[in-house]
């Protein structure tokens, strides 16, 4: 059996090599946009019949209800639950994946449900700042105006033609979740997209 604790230390996130580029490539000023990867978040995919007894037990473990509508996000503490489809959800959490998946699986035991650890599937790129929405609007076909896309909303959509989950936390904070293999493409696209919004952080700091 492989030594998992050693492997944890050797893990590399999809945008690890771009960390400095993202930091220096962020822009400052009135329409500042800060780019940053949030690596290694725990993500668990849940498929279960909504409203069923099994779903109720899963909700008990999560301490949040499974959202019933496209865009809805529930949970405000340890776990956030994103709507992916009428019978599919994504839990995003900072808890250890083994313990979260374990407790969800034991809650679902005997019922019809699928609980899968998909933490390595996606990474999270946080796009923050007053210019964040404008940057994303350059490459996202969905209407991101606040009248159509409220705070704490998450949808599956595309950014620069690649599929992403887009989670709007508040007016100036978006989390873009591309697949790991497309993360560097999204990172490079974002670095190019923010260029017109202000001076690069590296230029300001004279790095």
């Amino acid at each position: 059996m492989a030594d998992l604790t050693t492997l944890q230390g050797l893990r590399r996130s999809p945008l690890q090599d771009m960390a400095a580029e993202l930091r220096n490539g962020s822009v400052q000023g009135d329409r500042a946009v800060l780019l940053r990867e949030w690596p290694f978040l725990t993500m668990v995919n849940i498929r279960v019949e909504p409203g069923s007894e099994t779903a109720g037990r899963i909700e008990g473990v999560l301490g949040a209800s499974l959202p019933q509508q496209c865009g809805d996000v529930t949970g405000d503490g340890a776990h956030s639950v994103l709507w992916l489809g009428p019978d599919e959800w994504l839990v995003i959490s900072q808890a250890a994946p083994e313990s979260l998946v374990g407790s969800l699986q034991s809650a679902a035991e005997g019922g019809r449900a699928q609980i899968v650890d998909v933490s390595a599937n996606r990474t999270v790129v946080e796009v923050t700042g007053p210019g964040a929405r404008e940057v994303l609007e350059k490459g996202c076909p969905t209407d991101l105006h606040p009248r159509a896309f409220a705070d704490n909303t998450a949808i599956s959509t595309s950014l620069a033609r690649v599929p992403v989950l887009l989670w709007k936390v508040d007016a100036n904070t978006f989390r873009v979740m591309p697949r790991a293999s497309l993360a560097s493409y999204v990172g490079v696209w974002l670095l190019d997209a923010v260029a017109e919004f202000g001076p690069r952080a590296s230029a300001v700091e004279g790095v």
Binding site: C70, L84, G85, P86, E88, P141, T142, I155, S156, T157, S158, P163
Partner: protein, 105 residues
């Protein structure tokens, strides 16, 4: 761009969807009993109407669910969307005559 209303996600651009051909083509009850001609009819022959056409779509860029839509092949207007469990909705003759519709709302 054509916009289609997913029954679960609402109005989205056509680029988020993929097309699945004619809807309501039932799999034969006993495929082994079919003649070659009947099997070919089931596999390859589809309606090609000028006007409302019930077809399958999948929201591959969103919730990844299949659903049905009635689309006017003359105007590209989506007249109705409905889930696989729902029966095909009646499309009123006035709508089909003028090609004017509420955009599947």
């Amino acid at each position: 761009m054509l916009q289609i209303k997913c029954p679960w996600c609402g109005l989205r651009d056509e680029t988020e969807y993929k097309y699945g051909g004619q809807a309501h083509v039932a799999y034969p009850e006993d495929p082994a009993a079919l003649s070659d001609e009947e099997w070919a009819q089931y596999l390859f022959f589809r309606d090609n109407p000028k006007g409302p056409f019930a077809e399958r779509w999948v929201h591959s860029g969103g919730c990844r669910k299949w659903f049905n839509a009635v689309r006017d092949t003359r105007t590209y207007e989506v007249l109705a969307v409905y889930t696989n469990n729902d029966p095909r909705p009646e499309i009123s003759p006035e709508i089909t005559a003028t090609g004017v519709a509420a955009g599947g709302q």
